[in-house]
């Protein structure tokens, strides 16, 4: 009975033979049907998987394309009304020598303002928010909100191009990785003779990390050695003072900036003074 052929070859009645033949065909049909159903389920799963993959690839293409468009579109935009600070070529920067005045960076031979504020109808809002406040009064939401409104610290300042040893730190600052940049600058400080570019970048890092007092210490006396940076440093001092919680000093600084015609941060200074007042 196990073998249908053997069974069918036996001496059977015609009716029984026909019935057995139908059973054989039917069982074979059921077996194949089961097989095809099983494969159909696998096929549907495979098609689903391929569909998902296509969606992912399409999404990746859209994101990449969008990113590329945004990147090139941003590149074509006119320069924002942000201050420009020329910074001397770090490799040629002289060793820091308190009391001596560093040569003016190339292109700024005249003692004209090194920072210029492009004319703008309205002062745009800062692109980035202020850092997390530290120390006493760090929980003060009003101070945090105020800082967010006047945190004009875009990097790199227009015209600034770091080269040589500072390229890596410059890249990190562009990516707003201030901790990484600070660590990199610390390493450079150990191997290079101290110079104002390094101190400027470190001060800027500390400012963005919310370390107002330390930043101010780095900027101390720098405008005497680098008169071309004076306006930029004044603005940073105002922000640094506000970070430390010294609103009075900050207000004095901002008022002074706002009252100085031709100051690169005059508008920002007026805004800050108005908000602080």
């Amino acid at each position: 009975m196990e073998d249908f052929k053997q069974y069918l070859s036996e001496d059977l009645e015609e009716e029984e033979r026909a019935a057995a033949e139908r059973i054989r065909t039917g069982l074979e049909g059921l077996r194949l049907e089961r097989k095809v159903t099983e494969v159909a389920a696998g096929r549907r799963a495979l098609l689903r998987q391929r569909f998902r993959m296509r969606i992912v690839v399409a999404a990746l293409l859209v994101v990449t394309g969008g990113g590329a468009i945004l990147f090139f579109w941003k590149k074509d935009l006119p320069v924002q009304q942000q201050p420009r600070v020329p910074v001397p070529d770090p490799d040629n920067a002289p060793p820091m020598n308190p009391g001596s005045v560093s040569p003016t960076p190339p292109g700024n031979t005249k003692n004209t303002p090194v920072v210029e504020n492009r004319p703008a109808k309205d002062l745009p809002e800062p692109r980035f928010s202020a850092p997390v406040l530290r120390g006493a009064g760090s929980e003060d939401p009003a101070r945090k909100a105020l800082l967010n409104k006047i945190w004009y610290t875009d990097y790199p300042p227009t015209g600034f191009a770091a080269s040589g040893h500072f390229e890596k730190a410059d890249e990190l600052l562009k990516n707003r990785d201030f901790t990484g940049a600070y660590v990199q600058l610390q390493r450079l400080e150990r191997s290079l003779p101290a110079n104002d570019t390094l101190r400027f970048m470190k001060g800027y890092c500390l400012l963005e990390l919310g370390e107002g007092a330390e930043a101010l210490a780095y900027f101390e006396g720098m405008d005497i050695r680098q008169p071309a940076w004076k306006m930029q440093l004044e603005w940073y001092r105002g922000l640094g003072a506000l970070l430390t919680g010294d609103s009075k000093k900050a207000l004095t600084t901002f008022r002074k900036i706002g009252d100085t015609p031709g100051h690169a941060y005059r508008k920002q200074g007026k805004k800050a003074a108005g908000l602080l007042h």
């Binding site: 139908r22 059973i23 077996r31 998987q49």
Partner: protein, 202 residues
């Protein structure tokens, strides 16, 4: 599922790099071979279904039906492998199945000038097989367990007797007792089919 698998779905046709290998796989009823065959025929079948004016969701049914017919032909030795792509043959079967389905849909329309459309012998033979399949399905239900179960495990699901005994799929603990039971059950099934034939005169 691993991310790599997610991004690169397995290609069922990878093991079958020639028509002959695919045919051998189909002879052995390998799932991967059947899947490969269907994936190769899927797009043309969808196109045929669209051409014949059937709803697109019928493509899956038609592909399954055609695969079944093709596999039956291979089992019966009615398909001779001559070096051509098996998927080409499957697509041809699918065309006939689609045509038959279209005719069935338009059955209400009388043929012109009293000419009867000639039935497709392949599709007709498949219909007879389908009837036998339905009959066995029905008779197995009537037979009930444990007979239906022992027959299904061996003849439909393809388990070996050793596997059935080892994995305790039935109450039979030795291969011999299982075989004996199945033999009895098959005889019962055939007798049921005989009675069914007499009572229904089919």
């Amino acid at each position: 599922m691993r991310i790599q698998e997610w991004f690169s779905p397995p290609d069922p046709c990878r093991p079958y790099d020639s028509h002959e290998r695919l045919f051998r796989g189909l002879q052995r009823l390998e799932n991967a071979a059947i899947l490969c065959l269907q994936m190769k025929a899927l797009k043309p079948v969808r196109k045929i279904v669209r051409q014949y004016g059937l709803p697109p969701d019928r493509a899956d049914d038609i592909l399954n039906r055609s695969t079944l017919i093709f596999l039956q032909k291979i089992e019966d030795g009615n398909y001779q492998f001559l070096g051509h792509a098996p998927s080409t043959y499957l697509i041809e079967i699918a065309r006939r199945v689609t045509l038959s389905a279209t005719r069935a849909q338009k059955k209400t329309t009388a043929p012109l000038d009293g000419h009867e459309r000639l039935p497709d012998p392949e599709v007709e033979s498949d219909k007879r097989r389908q009837e036998d399949t339905e009959l066995v399905r029905h008779l197995l239900d009537r037979l009930g367990d444990p007979c239906a179960q022992v027959i299904r495990l061996h003849h439909i699901e393809g388990y070996s007797d050793e596997d059935v005994v080892q994995q305790n799929m039935t109450r039979y603990t030795t291969v011999d007792s299982l075989k004996m039971k199945r033999s009895d059950c098959m005889k019962k099934l055939i007798q049921l089919a005989r009675k069914w034939k007499i009572s229904n005169n089919t």
